[in-house]
């Protein structure tokens, strides 16, 4: 009987509270010991999961019909280990600045426990509760700097996401009325013999909209660039890299429970628009962190395109999406942490005023170049695995395949804009980067290299199979084609033009965001009405 999910959820929370109680810098060292304890728990339950294990842990003595159940399979076990690596590097990165504040580590470690809860929960109301706790925690962490912009972004985030999650509650109430149980497996069985009448569709739509709000889909994504660009860099790294993925994981679970064939094209279409929107607004940004935040939105859209084909079991798209969730998480955290140290040393967010990073901060510069190249999708590196799998899935629909190429091109232009910070101009005196930050970035790069090699060599892991062909002529030729056309496009449309300044200034007010949420529900319902 594997108790791994219990340890994964409770160890960080218990350590977080002990840190908060001790409230002194030596107490904050417990944050590292917590990660070590999680690693030990992982190794202890190693044999349960490596040969494809799947276990249901019932929390209570009255069977899984009445009690909450936690599911743990090889995939969630993989998430557990990866979260240890990610949180360790974020804690290490923020150590020189947050050494004194034990409340910072309290919120960060509690967030890790709650993320493990979201990954492992197999009960609808429990998922609602964990996502709500994650929203409150991320809201407080966004506000950690206590200056104007972060306060504004924090309240926008908390109130909007809580309104979004209430829709999940409406769907949940109708679901419990229909099937009489909250256990996801039993709901799936109960629904499999029900035909797709409006009730089931409405439940599916409400839950997808609330997951969409949590993971920033097309109409309701406006809180993400606002929140992730003003939070401290280690927090925006955790939020962008991991917490947004919890929404997408929720969508993955909901699509498993409600296999809706009718919505397959809707999600491909929605994912594409989200990706294009993220790229369009991202390209016009001058603030380095807003650019990275918009790139998160475009990658989320990309993942949703992959997840859309869940109704078709074991299709490339789904494993491509799940692989891309992990790869993009690692790369985005690396880029945000690197951007954080750049911003802290250059004292500006403006891309046009940051120059010569490679010469002034050699380690951070080289790590950032490696991160940018792999997130761009160069064929051998990490970013390409997920994209290639989703690309093969889309090959049969011509329109979506064209969209896939436009998105790849847009991603390269977006990160092409980021490459300009490496041009050596102005003073080249080397800047001091604390040993902790360099160590954290080193650990992350080591993790990325390990993942990259693993995905190139081994065919699959935990039910996901990887893109077999590491070196294919087609991939490299496409990549070179993208590079050339990206270069011309950047030359053709210089960023000083007033059009981009207007695009950059476009802000969705709080009322418009709620308005968009209603539009999102309306569109999804409209899609199901057979016109």
């Amino acid at each position: 009987m594997s108790y791994y999910p219990l340890f994964a959820i409770l160890i960080p929370i218990i350590f977080a509270i002990v840190i908060y109680l001790m409230n002194n810098p030596k107490g904050n060292l417990l944050a590292f010991i917590a990660q070590a304890a999680l690693l030990v728990a992982g190794i202890r339950y190693f044999p349960f999961y490596l040969p494809e294990g799947e276990y249901y842990l019932v929390l209570g003595a009255f069977g899984d019909k009445l009690n909450i159940t936690l599911i743990s399979n090889t995939l969630t076990y993989g998430y557990g280990l990866l979260s240890v690596v990610l949180w360790f590097s974020v804690i290490l990165y923020s150590w020189p600045h947050q050494k004194q504040s034990s409340s910072y580590y309290f919120f960060l470690l509690f967030l890790q426990g709650v993320f493990m809860g979201i990954v492992h929960t197999h009960d609808f109301f429990n998922r609602f509760l964990f996502i709500e706790i994650a929203t409150i925690l991320s809201g407080i962490l966004i506000i950690y700097k206590k200056d104007g912009p972060s306060l504004r972004a924090g309240i926008y985030y908390i109130v909007f996401n809580t309104a979004g999650i209430l829709l999940f509650l409406i769907g949940l109430s109708m679901l419990y009325r229909l099937t009489g149980t909250l256990h996801m497996g039993r709901v799936q069985e109960a629904l499999s013999d029900m035909d797709q009448d409006p009730t089931v569709i409405l439940i599916f739509v409400l839950m997808c909209v609330s997951m969409g709000v949590k993971s920033a889909f097309f109409p309701v994504y406006n809180w993400l660039p606002r929140a992730h660009s003003v939070a401290t860099s280690s927090i925006s790294a955790v939020l962008s890299g991991i917490m947004v993925k919890s929404g997408v994981l929720g969508l993955y679970k909901i699509q498993q429970v409600f296999p809706m064939e009718a919505y397959k094209d809707f999600f491909i279409f929605l994912g594409m628009i989200t990706a294009l929107c993220g790229l369009f607004f991202g390209i016009s940004q001058t603030n380095i962190k807003r650019l990275l935040a918009f790139s998160t939105i475009s990658h989320i859209g990309f993942i949703v395109m992959g997840l859309s084909s869940l109704a078709v079991p074991t299709s490339e798209g789904v494993s491509g999406a799940m692989v891309h969730i992990v790869n993009h998480g690692f790369l985005k955290i690396l880029l945000f942490l690197g951007a954080g140290s750049i911003v802290r040393n250059y004292k500006t967010y403006d891309l046009d005023r940051i120059r010569g990073v490679l010469h002034r901060m050699p380690i951070v510069g080289s790590v950032m170049i490696f991160g940018i190249l792999s997130i761009m999708g160069t064929p051998m590196l990490l970013g390409y695995q997920g994209k290639a799998l989703i690309g093969t899935m889309l090959r049969d629909q011509p329109l979506f395949y064209f969209g896939y190429h436009v998105i790849n091109l847009g991603t390269i232009i977006l990160f092409g804009r980021l490459l300009q910070i490496f041009i050596p101009r102005g003073s080249l005196t080397s800047l001091a980067v604390s040993i902790y930050e360099r160590l954290a970035l080193g650990i992350l790069t080591a993790g990325i290299v390990f993942l990259n090699l693993y995905q190139l060599i081994f065919p699959n892991f935990g039910g996901l199979h990887f893109y077999g062909k590491p070196f294919s002529l087609g991939a490299w030729s496409f990549f070179l084609l993208y590079l050339v056309s990206a270069y011309f496009l950047i030359r053709l449309f210089p960023l000083t033009s007033s059009f981009f300044r207007k695009v950059r200034g476009f802000e969705l007010s709080f009322q418009a965001a709620n308005y968009m949420m209603v539009v999102f529900i309306f569109l999804m319902l409209l899609w199901s009405v057979p016109l």
């Binding site: 908060y20 009690n67 109301f125 706790i133 229909l178 309306f522």
Partner: protein
């Protein structure tokens, strides 16, 4: 103006769709829902007459512990935001006191009310599994009782640190109480008395849980209230 019109139009469509969706729900009875099994087997499995408390404290104890966790986090968040990390000295002479001076009638009423509210709060907590009520509602009532005590000058305890420490320790006790059953009954987050013990004795677990949750909720909300008043000082 068009935005409002479009909004109303969309609401109309969603409203109609929702009506057609929720209409069949009224008469669709799933064969055995969780609620029915709890109604039939609730008392002999959890020894709690109030089945809502049975669900909250035994069947889904994991949920209730994390709900107490939510209050823990919001208290810590409010504490962090309102406490100014001592850049400059706290202001010695405020021109007028934080809590405005009240007429003595309020003081008299609050002095009279204070003990009764405490009693009522504890009643709701302790009898949570027999009558409606329980840890959360009782804790809120206790918190409102302590808010009145802020207006009573001699009892006004302004310092939130001991309360904050108490809240965290209570949460740890709650968590460990939930985990004891892992060793006594082999299943986490349930009553650590095994099913065979007679119900009157098993009720002790429920009352203990209610007390812990009640104290924790009341100290959490009191912290939030005191920090609201002292905010920025």
């Amino acid at each position: 103006m068009i935005k409002k019109l479009m909004l109303l139009l969309m609401f109309g469509f969603i409203f109609l769709y929702a009506l057609t969706a929720t209409a069949p729900l009224a008469d669709s009875f799933p064969e055995t829902s969780i609620g029915e099994t709890v109604i039939h087997r609730g008392y002999d499995e959890t020894a709690s007459k109030n089945l809502v408390a049975a669900i909250l404290l035994d069947y889904r104890l994991f949920d209730s512990i994390f709900e107490a966790g939510i209050l823990l986090i919001s208290a810590a968040g409010v504490l962090y935001m309102s406490r100014s990390s001592g850049f400059s000295k706290p202001f010695p002479r405020a021109k007028e006191a934080a809590v405005p001076k009240d007429s003595d009638s309020i003081l008299a009423v609050s002095r009279i009310l204070y003990p009764f509210m405490l009693l009522f709060g504890f009643y709701i907590i302790v009898f949570g599994d027999l009558s409606p009520g329980g840890g959360f509602q009782g804790g809120v009532i206790l918190a409102t009782a302590r808010l009145i005590s802020v207006y009573i000058p001699e009892k006004a305890s302004e310092n939130t640190d001991p309360l904050n420490r108490l809240e965290k320790i209570l949460f740890l006790c709650l968590l460990s109480l939930g985990l004891i059953s892992l060793f006594t009954r082999g299943a986490p987050f349930t009553n650590f008395f095994s099913g065979s013990v007679d119900p009157e004795f098993r009720r002790l677990f429920l009352v203990l849980l209610n007390l812990l949750i009640g104290l924790k909720v009341s100290s959490g909300l009191t912290i939030i209230f005191i920090r609201f008043i002292k905010e920025g000082k």
